[in-house]
């Protein structure tokens, strides 16, 4: 019951007349007549706005979102605090319904915001520069690997098992297309050993990829990695959670050539998985080699500060098959969202949120370890706001049972590669969790274990 077509019947008639046809359907003349106006009987009738809202509200009610279940799961998407001022600013029609700022004179607002986003990401990652975004964290890392591959044509990508296995799968999809191979470096107590990496280096090594923190929550020491890689003519790529970089050592400071990340933790709603924000930063040496849009500062004809899309010669619309990437639409609105969030929090707010997450993760861990049958996987390995525990029940089953108790538990690691295992769960607590929620979760687990018995208890 909506079509967003403004025409009155009279206007339609006048326009058809001006064109010189008599019916709307006459405009289909260039199309193959045997296929036009196909049967649409399998498409339902249009809904009014209020019927649509009813329908979608009832679908939404069948999901267990953070508003109905406290979230103790992370694994690449995090329930962080989003200031209420973010949405009214980001959703302003001027930003929301703008196109890519190809006409700079009427896009200065957007261009300046992107420029500021690039600044924020450069500073957060400790890197020289950032592009204007790519699709998500996984594709950001895949694109970075392709930059490394193109650099010297080398085709082996070493990747730490600390990187999210699901991200690794996306990287695989991307890089195998151009004939690269991935080689995974196993973790030792949740950390990548430099020796293991060095052992794998050869003339085909394009890069090594590490994670900050790892998928399993641990924080690594990448001392010496950059030197070893650079000596071999290989690049260091670090895939980092931008939220964690409020406290953890930056990719830039570890000597990374390229650094990527999933921007979702910076004020972007969980939203069932997207749209998220692919962060891609680099050292200046790669300025003309990275994919994606870049906004630069310049002056207009009267010498006023002005912003423009720049270095477009890297992009598909100029370079076509020789472009650095095929990316065209990116995630601009989400980059604005991340920027607004960071501006509202400021460095202190971001740091406090990260510290709050770490505090809560430690409280959660203590509470869970107090449950008989729950045991740690690594005792001493430093971690950020996630950690693995061995649970006294098959993890997928435990997760389901806890969901029906009203909690989104840690991620069941059944089916995950090592250190995942049938009975293990990857737990997370952000600054959004309260002591009461942690305590209630503890009780719920105890209740569930008592009722259903544990696998090992």
């Amino acid at each position: 019951m909506a079509d967003f077509i403004p025409h009155t019947p009279l206007e339609t008639r006048e326009m058809l007349e001006a064109i010189g046809v008599s019916r709307l359907e006459d405009l289909l003349a260039p199309y193959p007549s045997d296929h036009v106006l196909p049967d649409l009987s399998d498409i339902p009738s249009g809904l009014t706005e209020s019927s649509l809202m009813r329908k979608m509200r009832s679908m939404a009610a069948r999901n267990k979102g953070g508003g109905s279940v406290p979230i103790f799961r992370g694994a690449g998407a995090y329930d962080h605090f989003i200031p209420e001022a973010v949405s009214p600013l980001v959703m302003r029609g001027e930003f929301l319904t703008a196109y890519t700022p190809y006409q700079p004179e009427v896009s200065q607002g957007l261009l300046q915001v992107i420029f500021e986003y690039q600044t924020a990401m450069s500073n957060l990652y400790g890197m020289d520069l950032s592009n204007a975004s790519v699709y998500d964290g996984a594709t950001a890392l895949a694109e970075a690997c392709l930059v490394a591959h193109r650099q010297e044509g080398r085709s082996t990508i070493l990747i730490s098992d600390g990187v999210d296995p699901d991200v690794v799968r996306v990287v695989r999809t991307y890089v195998e297309g151009v004939g690269c191979t991935l080689k995974q470096i196993p973790l030792v107590s949740g950390q990548t050993s430099l020796e293991d990496v060095v052992k794998c280096l050869d003339g085909q090594t394009a890069c090594f990829v590490g994670a900050i923190p790892t998928f399993w929550g641990t924080v690594e020491d990448f001392s010496g990695f950059a030197d070893a890689l650079h000596q071999n003519g290989s690049l260091l790529i670090l895939h980092a959670n931008p939220h964690a970089l409020a406290l953890l050592r930056t990719p830039g400071s570890w000597g990374a050539d390229l650094a990527t990340g999933e921007g979702q933790p910076l004020g972007i709603p969980l939203s069932g998985g997207g749209p998220y924000l692919g962060i891609l930063t680099a050292s200046r040496a790669f300025m003309r080699k990275i994919p994606g849009r870049l906004v630069g500062k310049t002056v207009d004809r009267e010498g006023r500060t002005a912003y423009v899309l720049t270095l477009q010669a890297r992009e598909q619309h100029i370079r076509r098959e020789k472009a650095n990437s095929n990316i065209c639409s990116n995630e601009t609105l989400l980059s604005i969202q991340a920027l607004v969030t960071l501006s509202l929090l400021g460095p202190s707010g971001l740091r406090e949120a990260a510290e709050g997450s770490m505090k809560n993760a430690r409280k959660l861990r203590s509470r869970l370890l107090a449950i008989p049958g729950v045991s740690p996987v690594w005792q001493e390995t430093p971690f950020f706001h996630e950690f693995i525990l061995d649970m006294p029940m098959e993890s997928t089953k435990l997760s389901r049972l806890l969901l029906s108790e009203g909690f989104l538990s840690g991620l069941p690691l059944a089916g995950y590669p090592s250190p995942g295992a049938e009975s293990r769960m990857l737990w997370c607590a952000t600054e959004m969790r309260t002591e009461e929620e942690i305590e209630n979760l503890g009780h719920a687990i105890e209740k569930v274990l008592a009722r259903h018995g544990g696998m090992k208890s």
Binding site: L27, M59, P101, R172, K297, R301, T310
Partner: protein, 503 residues
């Protein structure tokens, strides 16, 4: 420091708004995150901790709100202006769709929630998938790709895997008409394929003979934009499809222009094997200043096993993730299920329009394009008198004699209160201006645009200098792009608060 108002005389347009860093005041605080008690000893060795300050802006909440509110005034969107950008389908983005995507249950849903906790989302995505399958006339659909180009890459990888599985590993060539969007060849390269460009006929149509010659045992796929980027429906499409299939290759439809077909023509019926669409064009999801988009891909049944994971399937208990995806799948192309926040908007749009509204989209998109084409006939040369599809291309070449180029006309249109048409694309038309009005603009708007466009072209011939100094009514005049690229400044390097130091 005064943040100047954007409503200014041209002669005294002020310098731009200061950046967040220029107005940053060390020590200022905005919003406080949740207050978590407890010890701040975390057991992380110093070597792994951040050293040095975190250079992010320090501002009050009000300063942040003002900054972004005022900056928004310096950008034009569909909500403020007519955006006749060809190939971009800048139509109205329904506010109700934004609301749907923000509903609790959708917006706060963790992507790794157990399937039992995301039945509503699975139903929404499954329903959209089914609807698109029908509208595209395809046998299976993936909602994973994050944009049109991402859909193309997905399609390329599917084709590649398909031929690998058939043992036809020599099929590595992708043929792309020279009128195609840059993403087509770029995606093909990214998928590890070899790109060959096919020259178009002077009319802008595919040169069927040239194509036939180019087809070989090495051809994996031909990528066709339909309607073409010139707004033309390929005259010999069925012949082209026949030839390609005969050569053992696949035919890909770049469906970025699907607005011309929506509800009136199904790509599947035309013989395409793979098609992607851009929800941020055809299905009215907001462009967001450059993204997010979403690029669902439909395939015929022989290619269904290759679709990326995760796959949603319909069972008698409703929609669920396929627990054992086909081993032939190309694997995941992004994290999680898809850009569900975008896809929920696309679903809302399709459900609002329904079977009555959907074909009207294409019909009125054609009406508007053909009407505006008619109104601009004789102003600048175009493709000739026939019917166009949803957009049309004019050439500003006649104005070159006065030193005026397509880009200059664009600047004149900015001053007249519009966004500009797409310029310099497609590459095969010299001084191209590609105009797409969409079905959402009124006759009154098109008439006003036609009048202003005609007036600008007239003045361009009579007083070219005027246009060359346009735009005059915008916050800045033309930026120096050469300077920007010479030694690029890609981030703010000012010391925080620099602009405040004046006092």
């Amino acid at each position: 420091m005064t943040i100047r108002d954007e409503k200014q005389e041209g002669a005294s347009r002020p310098d731009m708004h200061p950046t967040l860093w220029e107005i940053s005041r060390p020590g200022a605080r905005g919003v406080f995150p949740p207050d978590v008690s407890g010890s701040a000893v975390f057991g992380i060795p110093d070597v792994s901790m951040r050293e040095g300050a975190l250079n992010l802006p320090e501002l009050s909440e009000l300063e942040v709100v003002r900054h972004f509110t005022n900056l928004s005034h310096l950008s034009r969107g569909v909500d403020t202006h007519f955006i006749p950008l060809g190939s971009c389908t800048m139509k109205y983005n329904p506010k109700v769709s934004d609301k749907v995507a923000s509903l609790p249950g959708f917006a706060d849903l963790h992507p790794r929630t157990d399937p039992e906790g995301m039945e509503g989302l699975l139903e929404a995505m499954g329903t959209l998938s089914d609807l698109l399958q029908s509208l595209l006339g395809m046998d299976a659909v993936t909602l994973a790709p994050a944009a049109g180009a991402h859909g193309e890459l997905t399609g390329i990888l599917i084709a590649r895997k398909y031929f690998e599985d058939r043992g036809e590993t020599s099929r590595k060539v992708i043929l792309v008409p020279d009128s195609a969007h840059g993403t087509n060849p770029a995606s093909a390269s990214m998928g590890g394929m070899v790109v060959r460009s096919i020259a178009s006929k002077p009319s802008g149509h595919i040169d069927t003979l040239a194509l036939e010659k180019a087809l070989s045992q090495e051809t994996a796929m031909v990528m066709i934009t339909a309607p073409s980027t010139l707004g033309l429906f390929e005259e010999e499409l069925s012949e082209v499809v026949r030839l390609v299939h005969n050569a053992g290759a696949l035919v890909y439809m770049d469906g970025a222009n699907m607005n011309a077909f929506l509800g009136v023509l199904k790509p599947g019926d035309l013989g395409f094997d793979i098609v992607h669409i851009n929800t941020h064009k055809t299905l009215a999801t907001p462009h967001g200043g450059g993204g997010p988009g979403s690029g669902p891909v439909g395939v015929k049944s022989h290619l269904a096993p290759y679709l990326p994971t995760p796959v949603i399937e319909k069972t008698d208990k409703g929609y669920s993730f396929k627990s054992h995806p086909d081993p032939r799948s190309i694997g995941p192309v992004r994290s999680f299920l898809g850009s569900t926040g975008v896809l929920l908007r696309a679903l809302s749009y399709v459900l609002l329009l329904g079977r009555e509204g959907l074909p009207k989209v294409a019909l009125y998109a054609l009406l508007n394009a053909n009407y505006l084409k008619k109104r601009l006939e004789g102003v600048l040369p175009g493709e000739g008198p026939g019917l166009c599809a949803h957009e049309f291309v004019l050439s500003a070449k006649p104005l070159a004699a006065f030193g005026v180029h397509a880009g200059d006309l664009a600047k004149g249109l900015l001053d007249a209160g519009y966004y500009a048409p797409t310029i310099h694309f497609p590459l095969i038309v010299p001084e191209a201006l590609m105009i797409e009005p969409t079905e959402c603009e009124s006759k009154a708007m098109l008439d006003g645009f036609a009048d202003d466009f005609s007036r600008i072209v007239e003045r361009a011939a009579a007083h070219p200098e005027e246009l060359l100094s346009a735009p005059k009514r915008t916050p800045v005049s033309r930026p120096d792009e050469v300077l920007a690229a010479r030694d690029p400044v890609l981030k703010e390097v000012t010391v925080p608060g620099s602009i405040l130091r004046k006092h």
